[in-house]
């Protein structure tokens, strides 16, 4: 009887130790996953391979002919595009925006942070090749079809 009790006690102890170990490992994994997710680096347009390489005329042309399909095709993608700069605008926060105007609309590429330095050197009429992530489009009476890229990065 006494022996059975000792064996039972040992078994319970072993189960408790195992449970504590599993809980500890689970907690460690959970915290690691949380920290990994929480501190994961932001998307890098510089490092990310472009999903499409095309001219600004081809890009805008897609939106002029079938905006719904173009939106689905390019949504959240990194694009590499080239064209001649029609205008440059600097906003109130000193962020540079390059505009590529084509009949019926325009493409706006916005630069943020350190990437403004390269964009600031660009002038109207310059041929430019750049990368940026597609953020969306819309159509109105004032601007026509507007296609926007963010986080611009000059390649040439």
């Amino acid at each position: 009887m006494k022996r059975t009790f000792v064996v039972m006690k040992k078994r319970i102890k072993r189960v408790l130790v195992n449970l504590a170990l599993m809980g500890g490992i689970g907690l460690l994994v959970g915290v690691s996953v949380f920290l990994h997710e929480w501190f994961k680096p932001k998307r890098s347009i510089v490092r990310e391979e472009p999903a499409y390489v095309l001219t600004t005329a081809e890009l805008l042309g897609d939106f002029l002919s079938d905006p719904v399909s173009a939106e689905a095709k390019y949504f959240d993608k990194v694009l590499q595009t080239s064209g001649t700069v029609s205008a440059k605008e600097v906003d109130a926060y000193q962020n540079v925006n390059l505009i590529f105007s084509i009949d019926g609309g325009e493409i706006q590429v916005s630069f943020l942070g350190d990437f403004n330095e390269d964009a600031a050197a660009v002038t109207e009429g310059d041929p430019v090749e750049l990368k940026g992530n597609y953020t969306g489009y819309y159509v109105d009476d004032i601007f026509g079809t507007q296609v926007k890229l963010n986080n611009g990065y000059i390649l040439n």
Binding site: Q108, L112, G136, Y138, D140, N151
Partner: protein
């Protein structure tokens, strides 16, 4: 007597026709494609802030009509995880990629767009976020300068009013009411 009457009528008619073809000095469209919107969520657990610098907007100084288009994907957050959650779990930006505001200045007579100065505009219109439209009213500060109008306003957005919900709102790490600050610098629309 009859001749005089005809002359007066003719003069009035000519004056009306002439007036119709003279553009109102103040009736102009001002635009921007680089407006800024900041949203800020404050709770005891954490603060969340995001900025978009790609807001397109137009202001018709003759009619007081105002329009804004904001592409939700253009919001930049401090942390990648916040940006990801914002786009996928809360605002569902693939399904609802734009927010818009269409409204007008309701106290237009109190603003002299031909004279430089600072004015307070009362604004009412329809705000669409996450596919849900609500009518809102707010005030905006307009600073009229030479060929430039600067506008700014702050609004509070109750997320539940726009069907935005999620565990972090219920859990208290995202505020139920978000502060949204808008500032734009308009320039005359090139014809």
């Amino acid at each position: 007597m009859k001749n005089r009457f005809v002359k007066v009528l003719s003069f009035l008619a000519l004056s009306l026709v002439a007036t119709a073809f003279v553009p109102l000095q103040d009736d102009a469209v001002y635009v921007t494609r680089t407006g800024h919107v900041r949203f800020f969520s404050h709770t005891a657990i954490e603060d969340i802030e995001a900025h978009s610098h790609q807001v397109s907007s137009s202001l018709n100084t003759g009619t007081g009509e105002l329009a804004f288009v904001l592409l939700m994907k253009s919001f930049e957050f401090e942390k990648a995880k916040m940006q990801e959650d914002f786009n996928t779990d809360y605002l569902e930006t693939d399904e609802f990629p734009k927010s818009t505001f269409k409204g007008r200045i309701t106290n237009l007579s109190a603003i002299d767009f031909s004279r430089n100065g600072t004015y307070t505009a009362d604004v009412t219109g329809d705000l669409m976020i996450h596919g849900v439209t609500n009518t809102i009213s707010t005030t905006a500060t307009l600073i009229v300068g030479d060929d430039v109008i600067k506008g700014s306003s702050s609004i509070k957005v109750k997320l539940a009013d726009y069907n935005v919900s999620g565990p972090s709102i219920a859990g208290g790490s995202i505020a139920e009411v978000i502060d949204v600050d808008i500032d734009v610098t308009y320039k005359p629309k090139e014809s």
